[in-house]
């Protein structure tokens, strides 16, 4: 299955009704980015996580609708379709890195900045849950001006990685430790 992502006519602006529709999806609202950030900063962490997971679930559903059987999709296919859906949302450019057995997803050029990292991580968790039926935890490994990296791991691995990061261990060493412990 090598279905390319085709964003043509993905959005439909109905000026008579004043509505924006996404293909195969419900209505969208275009809101300013800083207003969304202000809302997220004012809300609780759980609320932001829930908000982000809802966004991710919607993206995962759309990807599944496009791909049909997503569990058989390759790395490139998932990255292409999921990344396309998130790009339509305006959250940034999705990237995929494989560090041994660890799956690392990244966002580049996100307009939300460091303040929207929690929201972005929650979006990924919701997409994995909706697309592949796995409860995942997105652990932020690093962030710079352009990119933010998230490790998708289970609850045990996520807690260990979070504790090591809190101790100041470089994120590369955290991945190495996780790979070593996982092999042994």
């Amino acid at each position: 299955m090598s279905l390319n992502f085709d964003p043509s006519y993905a959005l439909e602006f109905d000026f008579g009704r004043g509505q924006i529709r996404m293909a195969n999806a419900s209505e969208r609202v275009i809101v300013p980015c800083d207003a969304l950030l202000a809302l997220c900063q004012g809300a609780s962490e759980d609320a932001v996580r829930d908000f982000g997971r809802r966004l991710g679930t919607e993206a995962g559903r759309v990807m599944n609708d496009r791909l049909g059987e997503a569990w058989q999709a390759s790395l490139e296919t998932v990255l292409e379709h999921l990344g396309g859906e998130l790009a339509l949302m305006g959250l940034g450019s999705l990237g995929l890195e494989r560090w041994g057995q660890a799956l690392v997803l990244s966002f580049s050029h996100s307009p939300l900045g460091w303040a929207g990292d929690l929201l972005l991580g929650s979006v990924l968790e919701g997409a994995m849950q909706r697309s592949f039926g796995r409860d995942t935890v997105a652990v932020k490994l690093m962030r710079d001006d352009q990119k933010v990296r998230f490790l998708l791991a289970g609850h045990a691995g996520a807690s260990k990685a979070s504790s090591w990061l809190a101790e100041g261990v470089p994120w590369g060493d955290v991945l190495s430790r996780l790979a070593t412990r996982g092999v042994s």
Binding site: L75, R98, A153, K160, L178
Partner: protein
């Protein structure tokens, strides 16, 4: 002692002179304080006749060393008191008694002349000295040189000094004056405190006792000469003023350097190196000398190669005789053909040739200026063929990794070398590198599951 004898003799002569003079009595009040010697002229005495027969100089006892002074001996400036007239004494007392009186009564008198001789003649009384009391009236004649060793001469009026009490008090302290002046006492104390062995002259002292007479001095001088003649000069330089030391015998095997033979040295200096002796070699030199024979063979002469001179050079020859033109290129130099080795060398050369087995004549020597001549191929008589570069070398390569080189032996060699080659081995892999790649998950689901499994132990 001689001085004392002389002084006594002078005093005796003076007394004899004074005895001839008219005697006058001097009133005591006018000369209440006088010098001690004054009474000599104050008394009239009969003419003295020296008792030569009774006393000789040897019999007279003179205490050469004065007795030790009293412990704190202050300077005594005593008031003169005329000696009280002795019961048996009169103005014309004997001059002998006056002479025998101690002119220095400050010191305790030793055994007097009369006591020694057990003469009942009583010596004249000597006024005892008493310390000066500044409260007393000392306006009188005071003898300043009272403690001098020399006997004072007759004092004149200029010698007499009148002193008041204040002037007397200004005199130096008695102790210091006595210590400075009484040297004989110190010597006496030193002699008394010295051990009895100190009577001998110390070793370090080079002074000898003064001879009393000329004969004694001559005898000592003779002894000294004898000692110096028989004494060896010590090798070790004695320290200064240490006196003569006994030469220490050197240990066995060590001796002083022998004195060089002066005649030999003089002869060596006189005879020049290039003189008569140089012309006559010594025996040692003769033993190492080899007489060289004169050179045999043709005499070498430098000849001008006129034949090889080009004409242009002949014309350009300089007129000066000292200049020599270098020979041309055609003159290659070389050895003369008839140049033969000496007979001794020929014998050795023949023996060498017999050992080697090569009877053939050696090739003529070649000059370094010529190209070496081509040596003919020698006939190989030995069993081993020399190593010759093979004319044919082939390489048979059965595989890429194994190659065999075949060398064609020369046909004249009796024993061809045995060549061994490794057996042929077919091409086979000798190493295998396995690239281990992490299994790439085929689906995104697999990668997600593996990532979720991290850290779950």
């Amino acid at each position: 002692m001689n001085q004392e004898v002389n002084k006594l003799q002078e005093l005796l002569a003076r007394v004899q002179r004074n005895a001839a003079l008219p005697r006058t009595l001097v009133s005591a009040p006018e000369s209440s304080a006088r010098v001690e010697e004054a009474p000599v002229a104050a008394y009239t005495a009969p003419a003295y006749i020296a008792p030569v027969a009774e006393f000789t100089e040897e019999e007279m006892f003179f205490e050469s060393e004065p007795p030790p002074p009293p412990a704190p001996a202050p300077v005594y400036v005593r008031e003169f008191t005329p000696p009280p007239p002795a019961p048996g004494a009169s103005l014309d007392a004997s001059v002998d008694e006056l002479l025998l009186e101690d002119p220095f009564p400050s010191m305790p008198p030793g055994p007097s002349y009369n006591e020694v001789l057990e003469d009942p003649v009583r010596p004249a009384s000597v006024p005892t000295a008493r310390p000066l009391d500044h409260e007393d009236d000392v306006s009188g004649v005071v003898a300043i040189s009272e403690f001098t060793e020399e006997q004072p001469e007759e004092l004149l009026e200029d010698d007499i000094v009148e002193m008041t009490a204040t002037e007397a008090a200004a005199l130096p302290t008695p102790n210091n004056t006595l210590d400075e002046l009484n040297f004989d006492d110190d010597e006496l104390d030193a002699k008394r405190s010295a051990p009895p062995q100190s009577d001998e002259a110390p070793v370090s002292s080079s002074r000898s006792k003064i001879a009393g007479t000329m004969d004694e001095a001559l005898a000592r001088a003779a002894e000294q000469i004898q000692l110096e003649e028989g004494r060896e000069v010590p090798l070790k330089t004695p320290p200064p003023e240490s006196g003569p030391q006994a030469a220490v015998a050197l240990p066995a095997g060590i001796h002083a350097p022998l004195s060089p033979d002066i005649e030999e040295l003089l002869e060596a200096d006189i005879m020049p190196t290039g003189g008569v002796r140089a012309a006559v070699p010594t025996a040692e030199q003769l033993g190492q000398t080899i007489d060289l024979e004169e050179a045999r063979g043709p005499s070498l002469e430098l000849d001008h190669p006129t034949a090889s001179q080009p004409e242009s050079l002949q014309e350009d020859l300089p007129t000066e005789e000292l200049e020599v033109t270098l020979p041309g290129r055609e003159f290659g130099g070389g050895y003369q053909d008839d140049l033969m080795p000496p007979p001794e060398a020929r014998q050795e050369l023949d023996a060498h040739r017999q050992r080697v087995g090569d009877d053939s004549a050696p090739p003529p020597p070649e000059s370094l200026g010529q190209y070496p001549s081509q040596q003919p191929a020698a006939a190989y008589s030995g069993g081993f063929a020399p190593v010759i570069v093979p004319s044919n070398v082939t390489t048979d390569s059965y595989s890429e990794s194994v190659s065999t080189v075949t060398v064609d032996a020369p046909p004249n060699a009796e024993f061809a070398p045995e060549l061994l080659a490794r057996p042929d081995i077919g091409p086979s892999p000798v190493a295998k590198f396995i690239r281990v790649e992490a299994p790439r998950p085929k689906t995104f689901m697999e990668l997600l599951d593996s990532s979720l499994a991290l850290g779950s132990d």
